[in-house]
């Protein structure tokens, strides 16, 4: 990542924000949607804890932090992943990927970061507020080291989510329409709004090894609550980097089969 890349991304995002604010009503819709979703999630969470239960040892505040991480990730998804990765399918279907491939700029970065949609920002802000409330109410003191680890785990979870989604979107080079697969992935991620231990054993294994939702929300929240082991930190980072590398190799491999939409 260098200065040229950042300046190009700056131009990309400023132009896409200009294009997005042509549709101002979206902001109001998004704010209402975030308020509705969060209220629902907090209500369900409070029902779990209403009879003195806890979610597999997780306190109310810790669960609130997991929900905060999930909301933050959801916001990031709406800002960057959703608008870009869901468009890969139409780039391939309509043949506009041709223009991207012929630009002197990394095509994976282009299709992944060309658009920034500001409508996910209410979720990002709400996520940060929830995490802060969770940490503050549990009387945990977030040291600089814990903050760094928490941030690192968040970056890892973003990379894991991005890589999985990108690989699925790339398969549209062969299958053209993979919207359903993208939707399945996004819907499954909803499971990440509660701590992993809230789920039965079989599902927990599924969310750890098949679709690694545990790494996405539970691990960063554990880091924020100072309860994550060094082994998990290293595993999370290594897993994220491995998936990112696979996503890049997979994209280059898929492009060998790109036939471009006929004219």
């Amino acid at each position: 990542m260098n200065l040229r890349f950042l300046s190009i991304i700056g131009v990309f995002w400023s132009k896409s924000i200009l294009a997005e604010i042509e549709y101002r009503v979206n902001l109001i819709v998004e704010i209402f949607s975030v308020i509705g979703n969060l209220s629902g999630s907090i209500l369900i969470l409070s029902l779990f804890y209403s009879n003195g239960n806890n979610l597999g040892g997780w306190t109310w505040n810790a669960s609130l932090t997991v929900l905060g991480v999930y909301t933050l990730l959801e916001g990031f998804t709406t800002c960057i992943l959703q608008p870009n990765l869901s468009r890969i399918v139409s780039h391939i279907q309509q043949g506009t990927l041709d223009f991207i491939l012929l630009k002197p700029f990394n095509s994976q970065l282009w299709v992944s970061f060309r658009i920034f949609s500001p409508w996910g920002l209410p979720s990002v802000v709400s996520g940060i507020i929830l995490i802060s409330i969770g940490i503050h109410s549990s009387n945990e003191v977030l040291s600089f080291n814990s903050f760094l680890i928490c941030f690192l785990m968040l970056i890892s979870s973003i990379l894991i989510l991005y890589s999985l989604w990108f690989v699925i979107a790339s398969t549209s080079i062969w299958f053209v329409r993979v919207w359903n697969a993208n939707e399945v992935l996004r819907s499954t991620l909803v499971a990440g709004r509660y701590p992993l231990s809230a789920y039965p054993d079989s599902l927990r294994r599924f969310f750890t090894f098949i679709i690694p939702i545990g790494f996405l929300t539970t691990v960063p929240a554990q880091a924020a609550m100072n309860s994550v082991s060094i082994g998990v930190i290293l595993a999370s980072c290594a897993f994220a980097l491995l998936l990112l590398w696979i996503s890049n190799r997979f994209w280059l491999f898929a492009l060998r089969f790109y036939t471009s939409a006929s004219s």
């Binding site: 300046s7 012929l102 630009k103």
Partner: protein, 326 residues
């Protein structure tokens, strides 16, 4: 020296065949039958720097596939391509900065924003400074006769205005090799003429190499000295457009103006009737019998004026394409 060199180039696609109806769809879902289609079949040619070459052929002849292999979008099945000394499929930065692809049926401009915003995006991707960018936009928009259109959202532009903005966006980095795939598709006659004039001017000013596909003979005739005719993925003519007319035209084209209307059926014995509109008749007559036919026409028909020419290029090419398809 050749800037584009193509040797024994071929491209095959696997196409899955599907029968109509529910039964066909179910069969297609569980057991697909794939057929290999040879879109480009063992073609070779060279193009010199500064040349404008027209690629002509029917739909599905292999023109666009060839163009896409030349700019590095799709992998050839076999054969070799060299463009400016680069192997296109590697898509090296220096190669990409030297070429452009314009497609009449696809657009790269940002739909909701003024075209100027898309130009700024492209300029930053190509690493063009703000001063150079503004200078180039001013120069190219003057050549394309674009003024306030650049400040209007792309979705509000007419097709012709949009195409001109597309050309500007594709040429802001001053490429020396232009791949144009039907750049005047759907444009009205005035917009077509403006685009052709612009391309001619750009080619002259920057000595750029242009490879053009078009179904409009107007584009070909006004821009290309040399044409490559392609059918079923194979080249069957590569040479000057003027030579094609001389070599392949075994007929002459007679335009007749009559003093009074005549039953069109009566002209059948003189040759193939191309057009018959009351006092105006156009015939295609074999060269071998031209003298006799003219003599007969002058004696038997109420002729006011008569002109003999080579047949229109469209006629020759259409006839050639028909003959090689058989």
């Amino acid at each position: 020296m050749a800037i584009v060199r193509v040797e024994r180039l071929s491209k095959s696609y696997l196409i899955s065949e599907k029968q109509p109806g529910l039964a066909g769809s179910l069969k297609h879902l569980f057991a697909r039958t794939n057929t290999s289609v040879r879109a480009v079949d063992n073609i070779s040619f060279e193009i010199e720097a500064g040349e404008i070459v027209g690629f002509i052929g029917s739909n599905g002849a292999g023109k666009t596939t060839t163009l896409k292999m030349l700019c590095g979008l799709i992998h050839p099945t076999s054969g070799s391509i060299s463009v400016s000394g680069y192997k296109p499929i590697h898509r090296k930065t220096a190669f990409l900065k030297n070429i452009t692809l314009v497609m009449g049926q696809k657009q790269q401009l940002i739909w909701d924003l003024p075209a100027l915003d898309s130009l700024h995006v492209n300029a930053s991707v190509y690493g063009i400074s703000d001063t150079d960018r503004d200078e180039r936009i001013e120069e190219l928009s003057a050549m394309l006769d674009l003024k306030d259109e650049l400040n209007r959202p792309v979705r509000k532009l007419s097709l012709g205005e949009r195409m001109k903005c597309e050309l500007l966006a594709s040429l802001i980095h001053r490429p020396s090799i232009l791949f144009l795939d039907e750049p005047t598709l759907g444009l009205d006659i005035n917009a077509q003429i403006r685009v052709r004039e612009f391309l001619r001017e750009y080619n002259k000013k920057y000595r750029s190499t242009v490879i053009l596909t078009s179904h409009y003979m107007g584009d070909i005739k006004s821009l290309c000295k040399r044409i490559i005719l392609i059918n079923n993925g194979r080249i069957f003519y590569d040479g000057l457009l003027a030579t094609l007319t001389k070599t392949y035209s075994s007929s002459s084209f007679i335009s007749i103006e009559l003093t009074k209307a005549v039953n069109p059926v009566l002209f059948k014995e003189f040759g193939e009737i191309i057009e018959c509109d009351e006092l105006l008749v156009r015939l295609l007559v074999p060269r071998s019998s031209l003298k006799e036919t003219l003599f007969k026409l002058l004696n038997q028909m109420p002729i006011k004026d008569l002109e003999v020419n080579d047949p229109p290029t469209e006629q020759i090419i259409a006839k050639l394409l028909r003959s090689v398809s058989l």
